[in-house]
């Protein structure tokens, strides 16, 4: 018998003697409510909260004082403390004996070792790639297959500033890069579950897609600001929910279609319902690609014509055409897709390119740079080694790069940290043929130096100090690490990087 949800902790004194002080200070409703802790004899401490019940059990007695519990003890070498914190919505709750904790922790560790052992990757930076894969797995919600962006809200992108967002949701934007990472590492089950979740979650709104969903496939909650939480190092407000839920971001269509296409190109079968959904997305793109949108970085300003959004609209149609050509998708209006695909391509090539600056630009007919333009090669729109991409890369590095090798996503006011995944996109761009293998390797090592002691990344990295900024740990950054390592490894082996674009991705 096992509880529905349980966190186990074992504290071991390995040498000498240690004073241990334990504090349990649970707070509900984002700190607004102090829950009542009830002592239930040898069963432990219980808290009734919402529709469920929480249990804290420990191998030392804890003293309850006004919604908190405390314990103080000393441990000698070889002694240990055991804690179990569980939650259940169904009674009777299962309360396994504390003595079983060491054995259960061992079982858990064995399971994770076995899971990590399934990774099909022997290239450079294997440990770092595995750490990132484990992070993705830990950010996934097994019952549905969803993967959240990060498990935190409102860790600031600028210390003391207001760039604080709630990332505890699933962004469809991450789909394509995530599925590629999982499939290439051999985690088919996780990739399939993620795709299933994506198509299931979007079912009610298809062919329209929302930007983000909860792990249960519901729309993300309305955004509100906490009045009781001061924020990390005074970075207020702390936001709950995410207002991006109402934005139009056309790039998500390309991400979702490309994720499904990668699955199909690697041997997966698209069932009738999935095919129908994909065609719906394609038709939506055909009818809406000319609209302005909020784009990949979801700024809370008026919609604009983002080059990156056009790129992903092109990607959506391009992949659908390829799927039809290969007989993996039937019933799509291919000729119409081809017509619009070509129109989008022309528009990006003409209006997404700034002749004076000799670079692709963030918005059509604009003059601003954006690191997401490095993805033009990743999606197979333009070869990484083409003169346009090389020139775009030089401009991005010059304007958005820092001296310590990192990249900002765009010229930002107020100033924020460098954007970690953009640096991995840069590494991947180099690996795809925009640079040499040595350059890629050098950049990867620079970026790996910015991990914390557990091998984890936040969303951003503060230039100079290297401190993590933004929500933590960030799935997107770890997806970027895996992607860059995969592309480098594929290049070292002389393999094609992106199987679905044989003619255009690599240099």
């Amino acid at each position: 018998m096992v509880p529905d949800h349980e966190i186990l902790r074992r504290m071991v004194c390995t040498s000498g003697e240690m004073e241990i002080e334990t504090e349990f200070v649970p707070r509900a409703n984002y700190g607004e409510k102090i829950p009542q802790i009830r002592e239930s004899g040898k069963l432990g401490l219980r808290i009734d909260g919402g529709r469920g019940v929480y249990w804290l059990r420990s191998s030392i007695p804890m003293r309850v004082v006004e919604g908190s519990a405390f314990a103080r003890t000393s441990l000698c070498a070889g002694q240990s403390l055991l804690f179990s914190f569980s939650y259940a919505r169904e009674s009777p709750t299962v309360l396994p004996p504390l003595e079983q904790i060491p054995q259960r922790i061992d079982l858990c560790v064995d399971w994770w070792r076995q899971w990590a052992g399934q990774a099909r990757y022997d290239g450079d930076f294997r440990d770092e790639v595995l750490r990132s894969a484990l992070t993705l797995k830990l950010l996934s919600f097994t019952p549905s297959g969803a993967i959240i962006a990060a498990p935190t809200t409102s860790l600031p992108e600028h210390i003391g500033g207001s760039l604080n967002w709630d990332y505890r949701y699933c962004w469809l934007r991450d789909a394509s890069l995530t599925v590629r990472a999982l499939l290439e590492l051999g985690y088919w089950e996780e990739a399939t579950h993620f795709l299933d979740w994506m198509l299931h979650a979007t079912h009610l709104t298809q062919p329209e897609l929302r930007v983000l969903y909860t792990v249960f496939g519901n729309p993300a909650p309305r955004e509100w600001e906490s009045k009781t939480l001061r924020g990390y190092r005074g970075s207020a407000p702390v936001r709950i929910g995410n207002a991006a839920r109402n934005q139009l971001q056309l790039d998500v269509y390309g991400e979702v279609v490309d994720a499904a296409a990668q699955y199909a190109f690697r041997g997966g079968t698209l069932d009738r319902e999935t095919q129908k959904a994909l065609i719906g997305f394609g038709n939506y793109v055909v009818n809406h690609w000319q609209l302005p949108d909020q784009g990949i970085w979801e700024p809370r300003i008026k919609p604009r014509h983002h080059t990156h959004s056009r790129l992903l609209c092109w990607t959506a149609l391009d992949r659908l055409i390829l799927l039809c050509d290969q007989g993996k998708l039937t019933g799509a209006p291919v000729n119409e897709y081809k017509r619009h695909c070509e129109a989008i391509r022309r528009e990006i090539a003409d209006r997404g390119w700034n002749e004076r600056m000799q670079t692709y630009v963030s918005e059509l007919d604009g003059d601003q740079l954006d690191s997401s333009l490095l993805l033009l090669s990743w999606y197979g729109f333009e070869k990484a080694g083409s003169s346009r991409m090389r020139s775009t890369y030089r401009a991005i590095r010059n304007q958005l790069g820092t001296q310590d090798g990192l990249l900002y996503r765009y010229p930002a006011q107020p100033q924020e940290g460098t954007f970690a995944i953009c640096s991995f996109w840069e590494a991947e761009y180099l690996a795809l043929g925009g640079g040499t293998m040595e350059e890629t390797d050098r950049l990867m090592r620079t970026l790996l130096d910015r991990r914390n002691d557990l091998g984890l990344y936040g969303e951003e990295i503060e230039a100079g100090t290297g401190h993590a900024l933004g929500n933590f740990p960030q799935a997107f950054t770890h997806v970027g690490l895996i992607g860059a390592a995969l592309s480098l490894s594929q290049r070292q082996r002389g393999e094609q990087q992106l199987a679905h674009r044989p003619e255009s991705a690599t240099a």
């Binding site: 004899g41 009734d48 169904e90 009674s91 009777p92 709750t93 299962v94």
Partner: protein
């Protein structure tokens, strides 16, 4: 005694009881999952426990309804008001005596005095099953009252 009437009214009342308890659980009035609670008498497997427990609960309720029928026959009264009163008394008995005896009867239930051990890991219900949610008594009273009322109104005295 009218056996046919007992079989029919007992079955309908039991199904109504099960439905009401399941609805209370689904609506969050109580965390108590009676099929799971009963099923764990015979198996630690969560899914199987729910199935076995549901079957046990239906047969249990059916069998238990014979006590109501005996009382109806003995008093020569069978109507929904009397049945409802019996149901409330039944609910009170189940919540007080039944729940306090449960940790002793259930082979997998722990107690506050001894804490969980390898064979006994389930949380005990506590006084009036309040450990399973503070509205649990309400759902138990309501469902047993309906159980009794249905029996009282459907049963035909011999």
């Amino acid at each position: 005694m009218n056996w046919l009437s007992w079989i029919f009214s007992g079955l309908v009342a039991t199904l109504a009881l099960s439905t009401l308890l399941a609805t209370s659980y689904g609506l969050g009035l109580t965390r108590m999952n009676i099929p799971y609670l009963l099923g764990t008498f015979v198996t630690p497997n969560r899914e199987r426990a729910r199935l076995y427990g549901f079957i046990a609960h239906v047969f249990n309720g059916w069998a238990f309804s014979i006590l109501y029928v005996f009382i109806f026959q003995a008093t020569h009264r069978a109507n929904w008001r009397f049945g409802l009163l019996l149901g409330l008394a039944h609910g009170l008995f189940a919540l007080t005596v039944g729940m306090s005896l449960l940790p002793s009867l259930h082979p997998r239930m722990a107690s506050e005095r001894n804490g969980p051990v390898a064979q006994r890991q389930l949380e005990p219900p506590g006084f009036m099953a309040l450990n399973y949610g503070y509205q649990t008594p309400l759902s138990v009273f309501l469902s047993h009252a309906v159980f009794g009322a249905i029996l009282g109104s459907l049963y035909r005295l011999a």
